[in-house]
Amino acid sequence: MENKLFLYALHSLKRRFYKNFSISLVLVFLVFILFSVLFIKTSLEHELSISADGMPDITLQKLQGGKSVLVDTSRIDKLLNIQGISQAVPRNWGYYFFEPSDANFIIVGFDAFDGNFQSSLKKVIENLDDKIKFNKDGMIVGVGVKKLIEQSTGLNYINFINNKLDIYKVPIIATFTTQSSIFSNDVILMPYNLSKQILEIPDNKATDIVLKIPNPDEIPTVIKKINEMYPDFRIITQESLRIGYKNIFDYESGIFITLFIVVLFAFFVLVYDKASGLNESEKSEISILKAIGWKSSDIIYIKTMENLILSISSFLIGFAFAYFYVYIFNAPILKRLFLGYSNIYPNFNLVFNLDISIITIVFFLSVCIYLGAVLIPTYKCAVVDAEEGIR
């Protein structure tokens, strides 16, 4: 018996094809936008946290007049006296203009393979060529850097030239993972001494000092002691980097908020239209069905089926579109909105991250609200006297 009613529901969907099709367009679009935005957001957050994993526990910069200046490496010995710091190494960074590609790379000079830093670094690099010793002359580059070098010179090394016109040939020994490329895209990581020569940093100076603190519980006391010892240090923790990264993507773009509002608005117009009552032909259908012997429950059953099929299939289609758009086509346009136009725009890949809470949220915002908006007035209409719609 239910089976016959189900067929009737299917047939009703077909019968009002254009109306149902336009409702389903709005639903698909809503689900698509919601999923796309949430997919991009969670994937970015996931990738940012991977990137943050590769960052030092604490970075120290010397401030003078509010600007960061070179720091004396002699401070390292005194820092190592502080309980909790297992390692302190100097780090340099600066821009290098790479003429063949007409691009600026960021050089980070840092003996990353020394001791404890190695493990966190390994999380963000791949294709490591162990034959070339990093300590002497190799560099690890972001995927963007590698691509530009290959495109412009076809080589797997760079001949760096400094202002004194000294030349340093540095081979690529590994690349950073694509997942971390939001930040590593244009980065070149090289040994500290090499970077000193290319960036022409004076002896006994460095851009900053990075610390390894094996026990995270000790970080607050370490910070306090550093503060007492060197009040001119700006102390940047991995945690604050994480927060900072998140803020970069905190929906700075008004465009996508506007888009969001437009879609939600269309949806709520639809919902309002439905919830504010059935139209004359729907009312008359219900009262005819009652007058010829259908129960209210039969009517509610077919209406539920009709709208379940409509909303769930729209939900699945919207989900599939968003999946392809974000993870297969890498979210053109929307990703840009997230990252902002000002940044160098890395071509990183978003990686799928199944998150039940996202699916629940989108399901509620689309299917549940829509079903409620349709079924409550249907219920009211089917349960009151059927005679009113016939006249």
């Binding site: 018996m1 007058a291 259908w294 059927a386 005679e387 016939i390």
Partner: protein
């Protein structure tokens, strides 16, 4: 067979006052009667038919149909009662658009225990009997006024109910079609159906042999 006993029916109006449509209304209809309810618009004809079909409940009194008291049936029992006992023909014929003649005929039986194949056979037989088989797959919006009136009659017959209620069935029909409709009603009476027709047309009185005519007066 149909018995209205001391029926009161009133409606609450938007301004809060009550409109008393039926006041101590009594009516007795025998099996195989053909009853005509006449009266001006608004005098309560539809209300009587709706109460008879358990679509509305009286405020007071009792109505007994086929030995069953239906004035206090729950919604779902009322639906079952209608499916079993009542064939309803509406003023505007009220076929469901976007569906074929066959599908319209099938709708009442979708909630019965018949299988789809059985339903299709019943509908086809009925169309055949009334010489409408050529319209079987026609969408109802393509039908002429007379054709849709006939399909509406067939839909009231599909569930083999023995009571046919027709609420101003000729209001939208011209003279010729009204006469055709009346001839159909005679046919059904000959088959043993009990029929109640409401109208404000005079044509029925002239062309019909009624067992009973009820002249309703409008209450003020």
């Amino acid at each position: 067979m149909i018995e209205f006993k001391h029926i009161d029916k009133r409606f609450q109006l938007k301004n809060g006052s009550f409109l008393k449509v039926l006041n101590d209304f009594n009516l007795h209809v025998e099996k195989n009667d053909l009853l005509l309810i006449k009266g001006v618009s608004g005098c309560g004809k539809s209300t009587i038919l709706n109460i008879c079909a358990a679509l509305q409940k009286p405020n007071f009194g009792e109505i007994i149909v086929n030995g069953e008291s239906i004035s206090k049936l729950s919604d779902s029992f009322a639906s079952e009662f209608r499916l079993k006992n009542i064939g309803f023909i509406f003023q505007k014929h009220n076929l469901l658009t976007g569906q074929s003649v066959l599908q319209n005929l099938a709708i009442p039986l979708l909630v019965s225990n018949y299988t789809l194949a059985q339903i299709e056979k019943k509908a086809t037989d009925l169309l055949d009997k009334f010489e409408l088989l050529n319209l079987k797959d026609e969408p109802v919006e393509n039908l002429s006024g007379g054709e849709s009136a006939r399909v509406a009659i067939l839909r009231a017959l599909i569930n083999d109910a023995n009571i046919i209620l027709a609420d101003e069935p000729t209001a939208n029909l011209d003279l010729g079609l009204s006469e055709l409709f009346i001839s159909y009603m005679h046919l059904l009476k000959d088959e043993g159906k009990t029929i109640i027709i409401s109208t404000h047309d005079d044509i029925f009185e002239k062309r019909c042999n009624y067992t009973n005519i009820l002249n309703l007066k409008k209450k003020t």
